[in-house]
Symmetry: C3
């Protein structure tokens, strides 16, 4: 795909630094350090600003205050990264296979596939499944009984969706993801675990993305709910009856335990643990590898854990951690004396 800078500016609602650049054509995005003629870059992170003076790109997307840092064409944006994302989407549209139901797919008599869908090799749609128009299901996907896939959704190879789950419109589900497996519900009876049937489902809102090998369990009775615009990275575990508010993003390897409610517009970094049966309000930020063990009622940024250091000194300090209450009390005693 090729676009003129004039076209890109008007499609993304930003300004060109000089109208004379309007007919310059670009056909790809590239990092500011390695871009060459015909490519467009962006710079939002001040860390990379130094590269602008020698950047060979045909154009760069910048905030107004950085316009003079680059000698060529600039698209002036209040949010260069967002403008870049839009332009990259225009220049690198997803490669969509031609509509087809592959001959090796297994489609139940009672399943229904909309118009303009690609159903890949060995993909299985069980009884009562509904796949709306413009969907793309790659190879080896399994969709269980009575589950549905909203318009324009893309499911990559080897994804498993259990029965009675509802995916939204324009979802992107990555390989290895599992949606609707049983929640971890067992009652202990004299030391043995009795399985609690998990009869709820999973409901994903529109524009949700689910990363590779991420697992979202079905609810015990009610549904597990992921609201619109939520982005889940890889290897995330969402337990039964969790609700994640709209436009929240969670980075890789994090886990959310059962029945917890996370608000809208939260950002949770990688490897965080959110315990069960708590509530996080909207606009909460959690830094990497934090354990959130209680509800959070106030928007803001939260953390747990310790800094890292050389193992030899860490050993000494982590021993002292176990004496911390005792040490504190000794200090207080000393204060009282002095």
């Amino acid at each position: 795909m090729k676009y003129t800078l004039g076209d890109l500016a008007s499609k993304t609602g930003v300004q060109l630094s000089n109208k004379s650049f309007a007919n310059i054509e670009v056909e790809a995005v590239a990092p500011v350090q390695s871009a060459s003629k015909g490519e467009i870059s962006f710079c939002a992170n001040p860390k990379y600003k130094k590269h602008l003076s020698v950047c060979q790109a045909s154009a760069v997307i910048l905030k107004e205050e950085l316009v003079d840092s680059f000698s060529g064409a600039v698209l002036i944006s209040k949010n260069p990264y967002a403008t870049y994302a839009q332009i990259a989407g225009l220049l690198s549209p997803a490669d969509i296979p031609t509509a087809e139901v592959h001959s090796t797919a297994t489609i139940h008599d009672t399943a229904r596939v909309g118009r303009n869908c690609y159903i890949g090799p060995n993909t299985v749609l069980d009884a009562g499944v509904v796949v709306e128009d413009d969907c793309l299901l790659m190879a080896g996907v399994f969709i269980g009984k009575n589950s549905s896939v909203g318009k324009g959704t893309r499911i990559n190879a080897n994804v498993s969706v259990y029965h009675n789950c509802a995916l939204g419109k324009r979802n992107i589900i990555h390989s290895g993801a599992v949606i609707g497996a049983d929640g971890f519900g067992f009652a202990n009876d004299n030391g043995k675990w009795i399985k609690v049937p998990q009869t709820g489902g999973v409901v994903l809102g529109d524009d949700v993305e689910v990363g590779a090998s991420t697992t979202i369990d079905r609810g015990a009775l009610d549904n597990t709910v992921i609201e619109e615009g939520v982005k889940l990275d890889n290897q995330i575990q969402i337990a039964h009856n969790v609700r994640i508010g709209a436009h929240t993003a969670i980075a890789g390897c994090s886990g959310v335990a059962g029945s917890t409610i996370i608000g809208k517009h939260c950002t949770i970094a990688g490897m965080c643990t959110i315990v069960g049966h708590i509530e996080l309000t909207d606009n909460v930020r959690i830094t990497a590898m934090s354990l959130i063990s209680k509800s959070i009622k106030q928007s803001g940024s939260y953390s747990s854990g310790t800094g890292f250091e050389e193992t030899t000194s860490w050993r000494k300090n982590s021993v002292r951690f176990k004496q911390l209450d005792a040490i504190s009390r000794r200090l207080f005693k000393l204060e009282n004396k002095s």
Copy 2:
């Protein structure tokens, strides 16, 4: 399915609050907050007790001391959650497909499938595989050479079982689980890693449940062993030669490193790390996101990590953590002076 309260009481060995309720019929379980006529609820968590006075369920399962909190029919149980689990199992039996070997399944000549089994689309049974009676293998399952699947076991879509692994009876294996991949065994030879062949297998006891995307590696020489009744949640990593004792439950995202032995009736919360070559005795509880770096010889509850707080204060405290040994020594010096 419909049952009278009298039937349910006798099948689960509990008492009805009043015999006049014996003929009331219920057909579903529901949460105490939203249950309506024809449904049965339970309340074990005091947090939800407040809902009982307005609960619309036809019956509720309660401990004796709470009988008066609900005006309708009560099933009196010493363990309401366990009774609920049994009743939910009766009212919501798993949906079992009709016995069939799907035409797209690939069954090796030397593999053997018992009576009353469902083998789904594209499922592959390699040479020498034995699947006992009453098993359910959904779509896209792979069972490697000479592995066996015990009676009544259910394997969900896209599960991979390597060669020479033995699943028990009534196991439930969720999608994306991988049983029998090579343990992480390498010898370092002048900076390069030489692979150590992993020639042991994996043995699962009866009534084991393995969550979605959970991985259980084969042993290096001896087997990796998961004893009967163990419940593993999603995204758990069990390394080679681990042994997990009967009726232990491990929550999502936890990892157990090589050759570690975990006792019976332990409960390990989410995102815990148990290092290799240690032993945990029976009845150990580990709280969320703990690092267990040494053997535990005493039953009880163990934890590591820090509480969470706002990031600005956490930064200051986590810097101090690195000075903890030094700070402690300064305190001791001061004590000696005073």
Copy 3:
């Protein structure tokens, strides 16, 4: 397979304790505790030395200083574990299926499969895929458009490789692994996330092993790169544009965030989190469950977190952690007074 000790000594370049042992035959490896006649063991870990005096193996691999601990034949090695790995590889060669393209595999007209390859049931090679000679792709593997698989590589069941990814020679990829899913790249535009197309690929060097359910995301623009000899355990998340240096090993459940560069010969234990946009030099060791939040310029061993203890005392200490800065300041004040 059967070998004489003389053969094994010469093939692995080590010495026999006495030439008279040269014709003894062994046919399997076994742990020192349970080995019997016809088997060969090793002992590198002093913890297991006590078993040598009663060990029934036909031979044991030991360091020179331990030769006298075992009364039978000894292979004397400077690195017993590495010698053991080599010998185990000779005695237990991987079970390679006969070359075949299974009738249920879906091979695109423009895909190319080399000589002596096994392509298993339901495996899919999309347009332009190249599989070099001597490869083994088990059942249900998906290889996306224009990706390539180097000579002698083994891909286990239900692995997903997206488009434009290049696997090296002699790679071993375990079940459930996902290579080339989209990196987690979104620009926030007034609270909504705009997807940033991920147009880079993934490049794996030669002799790389990727564990079960490990995910390696494709780069945003440039490639994600895993250099030769890197060993990744199960359930690891490698984000977009990460580079991992040659011969580095990472244990299960660890995550590396975007654009981070890890040096050569590093060893990273399980459940570690390496944040994004940092650099770790060569020969860095990270202990289990550490959070690495800044670049490391000095080789050595690093840690974070706290020791574990009984939950009751941990609660007190972890509350004190949140007062640590305040407590420290109180100490300093006291010091100034005294």
